[in-house]
Symmetry: C2
Subunit: 566 residues, 2 copies
């Protein structure tokens, strides 16, 4: 390695500072410069919704080290020996001469050319702004940079925003919905697809939608935005949102329909772009098609470990890992970024919502012979007063018994179980291997058989033919068919009184063996309880008594997304 | 399989009911009988400390299903079709005639013989009661059964117990310490070894001891109990505990020095006993040396996956898994119990204390070339107000780079990270593979680079020679030697003012590059900060400037167990 290796990093938010700092730590004699278009460096973009909500009190916390030192150009110079040029835009890459043309922010022609030995593109992504009529009116925001958050906070402070429409029910959309609801706004989420949070399967997303509705949020799925309308008397300012399902009053609109990778520089330089994702193509060392140019963070396509296909899943966690790999490779340290599982988590009011791997939808599309389970249970020993409901879904491949994906919804600690599932996916484990994992147990932290292990056992019962499930959607459709199955509710009388599926035969589990004659033998039977643990017991009793067509309602009544009789 | 397979299960607490219920679910025509010595069935022994503390309000919650149905003999009969004979003792196994001799509880000769096709021993374990003078005095308790908890609660209610001595600082000892402290008792823990909680390495245990001391508990390690003394005027009742470090006043004594497997029945029947653990030897199907006799739960030796050796680690989580495997094998369903990692967790006041795999001590004893890391960090994005400190220790094998073990201490969510580490151990992952795992990230749940991934990265830096660590114990000894190293504190002036290591050279990290001339070149240097992240940056700066003997204090000042200057 040359003693004065010149490294230029374009982008100073997440991956960029990581690359720069790591290169200097590994190769102190390197000459590292970070070019950043904005004024602010190394800030936690993922924290912006919590800054808007007020959970994070001050802007500077988002760009400080844990001991409160702001990561500004002086910090990078003194502590890291990294030169930072902020408010500077990189306009062109001259690969032949290995130099980057830069100008002060706002410039369109290079005023200076900087030579590099290695160049790292950490140009990030930008929010998609749809070409809607009225999209540029005052009061329409995206949330991507600190300045966006300041704008939204200022508007909230002036109490101009009582009615807010959030366009797009993805991660940022739901996080912003919570932040705005915390400010007392009436929030409507408008989502073009039939569900919010497409990282989940539809019925899991429906549980989140119901939770948001219980918190006073209106969720309009399957609805498109047609135009953003002005305010009577002030057409420059947003006053309403016209959707395919009617017009909504709106003092503020948050556009959160996704982000797109910033690839202009890379494209102009002739670097390979991934067709599928339209993000910069990189190898496992984070090198682009030019081995002297690396890319990392929200601007690159990642290898999805479950599909083997490139994917665009921009996340701060991934950006950090990629930055380290790029820096290591530049410094001659062996390292490879293997790819991602699509793991994600978000807080939605009192719910933790998390997932990893493939959804059922994705797994079916990929051609797997799919088995799924839905397992609601307390997230701690059920006798602990702070135990909270956690609903887990597993997706597995019948052929290999391998886990393919997992989803968690509910107030319980889903992040922990999804991280465990992510490790199982990383190792390519079967559900049998997962079921035997030796996880920590004590009553304040988990049930004796942890939720994820119970879910794996339920899956094994399904794969072994000991448990036939029926989803709520399937059952709902069957109940409207000409030959509906018999519904067998085996809960306690108190539970039955509170709410029930119309037309259910009610026999508490403890009485079932004695009252088998009441259960019809000439029709399919679907057994259930609150979470379908007793439903499963009931189904085994019926099977033992010679019933041949017995299924269990997956997830029980607690995950039933349709109306119940009260 | 014969239609009327007769199964007898001895033991009705954890593994036993699991075996019985699962057998009936898989093989409804089986004839299953559970023999239980006590009156109570299927109770959560692990919940007893929380019943003593009052977190769990009613005894019945510990033996109820999540919907509040008490698991009594009637429940087992009606719901499970399992015959339960409680208050019945199994006295003899006649392997030749395949029958068990039983009697009403208290009996010493069989009054009845029950035939079996398959017998399952779930005889559990019992607390060790040392042969101390005075051990049978009133007020001396163990905590193993519901009756023990009731006795302790009654004594507390009569406010007879202000001074309590807990003998033994294992899991139950520390859980009971917290429960008793919650009642306002003055608790002293007396532990014969040099540390409590031997599932941890000594310096991690010391952090827990300090936390307990901060909560008003006295922790006396390295102290043995010599006798339990009577009360003046009432010698039948405990009044004091005589230890090798003096005599302690005591209104109550809790003996928690461990449990021993109940193997009398198995021994008498000539079944193989594991020499190392003195527990019942079983194969991966949970069969004893007699293939028609199974054993599961606290009475058996388990395969330790990290050592390949049998171990005795009784836990409710393991008992459940083993019960399922035994039942499956009886029913002809393929299943094997692979073994355990030694994963454990407990709540100690505000701390979560967890571990999996080998300790550093165990790994060294097993002959590994060990590397360790100590990584304190907030358990969420540091700008979230509810982020809490989590101290992680990793143990890895230098030769293979494989993870060998992990420990967590602190108020942060250690259980999650240790479960992830347990999955890495299950899969035999290197720390490099662990570092690239795609775990969930959002600010309310983790830092952008999760604590366990940061710990893995720190370990990679150590294995790659980029970071040389020194433990607090090593440094403490070096500072008392003839050639102590120079101490370089790179924190902020405010931090330095609050507390510091005596004799430190203080140069804030941001000033270090400019003030390098102040750092001696003729002595070894140890750099540090609060958590040793800046200490590591400082070490890299010094190495870059040609310093050859630079180390970083593992874990920084926040894990320094000795006195600091204030």
């Amino acid at each position: 390695m040359k003693p004065e290796l010149k490294i230029i990093v374009i982008g100073g938010v997440a991956a960029g500072p990581k690359v720069a700092s790591r290169v200097i730590r590994m190769t102190p004699q390197a000459d590292v410069t970070v070019i950043e278009q904005g004024h602010l460096l190394s800030y936690a973009g993922c924290g912006l919704p919590y800054y808007v909500s007020g959970v994070v009190k001050e802007q500077r916390e988002l760009m400080s080290t844990p001991v409160g030192v702001v990561r500004d150009p002086v910090f990078f110079g003194k502590v890291k020996n990294v030169k930072v040029r902020n408010a500077t835009v990189a306009l062109r890459i001259d690969r032949a001469k290995k130099r980057v043309g830069v100008a002060p922010a706002g410039g369109t022609e290079p005023t200076e050319w900087l030579a590099y030995d290695k160049l790292v593109l950490c140009t990030g992504a930008r929010p998609v702004k749809p070409p809607l009529p009225g999209v540029d009116k005052l009061g329409v925001y995206t949330l991507h940079e600190v300045e966006d958050a300041e704008g939204i906070k200022a508007a909230l402070a002036e109490t101009r925003a009582k009615d807010v429409v959030v366009v797009g029910g993805g991660l940022i959309g739901v996080e912003m919905t919570e932040a705005l609801a915390e400010h007392g706004c009436r929030v409507t989420v408008v989502e073009k697809l039939d569900q919010i949070l497409t990282m989940l399967d539809a019925h899991m997303a429906r549980l989140v939608e119901k939770h948001m509705e219980a918190k006073g949020v209106r969720v309009m799925t399957g609805s498109g935005v047609e135009a953003i309308l002005g305010r009577p008397g002030d057409d420059r300012r947003v006053g309403a949102v016209q959707t395919t399902a009617g017009t909504l009053p709106a003092d503020m609109v948050i556009l959160s329909i996704g982000v797109r990778p910033n690839t202009d520089l890379a494209r102009d330089a002739g670097l390979a772009i991934c067709e599928r994702t339209r993000a910069i193509a990189v190898n496992r060392h984070m090198q682009t098609s030019d081995p002297d140019i690396y890319a990392a963070g929200d601007c690159v396509a990642v290898n999805h470990l479950m599909t083997g296909q490139p994917a665009f899943i921009p996340l701060g966690s991934t950006a950090n890992k990629q930055g380290r790999v790029a820096a290591n490779h530049i410094c001659g340290i062996a390292d490879e970024f293997p790819g991602v599982l699509g793991s994600a988590v978000c807080k939605v009011f009192d719910f933790c919502v998390a997932c990893t791997g493939l959804t059922e939808r994705e797994a079916r599309a990929a051609g797997y012979d799919v088995a799924v389970t839905l397992t609601p249970a307390p997230d701690k020993a059920h006798f602990m007063p702070d135990a909270r409901l956690l609903i887990l879904k597993l997706i597995a491949d019948r052929a290999t018994r391998r886990l393919l994906g997992a989803q968690a919804v509910g107030p319980g600690a889903g992040d922990k179980r999804i991280d465990v599932a992510a490790m199982a996916l990383t190792a390519g484990m079967t559900v049998d291997q997962l079921a035997h994992a030796d996880l920590c147990y004590a009553p304040p932290f988990s049930p004796a058989v942890d939720n994820i292990l119970t879910a794996a056992d339920v899956m094994r019962n399904k794969l072994d033919g000991m448990l036939k499930g029926v989803s709520a959607a399937e059952l709902h459709a069957e109940l409207r068919s000409e030959n509906p199955p018999a519904l067998l509710d085996v809960r306690t009388p108190d539970e039955f009184k509170t709410m029930r599926l119309p037309g259910s035969l009610f026999i508490p589990l403890g009485a079932l063996r004695a009252r088998l004659n009441e259960v019809p033998r000439d029709r399919p039977v679907v057994a259930f309880c609150k979470i379908s643990l007793r439903g499963y017991e009931a189904a085994r009793i019926l099977c033992g008594a010679g019933y041949s067509d017995v299924r269990v309602l997956d997830g029980g009544l607690v995950t039933w997304p349709y109306d119940l009789e009260k």
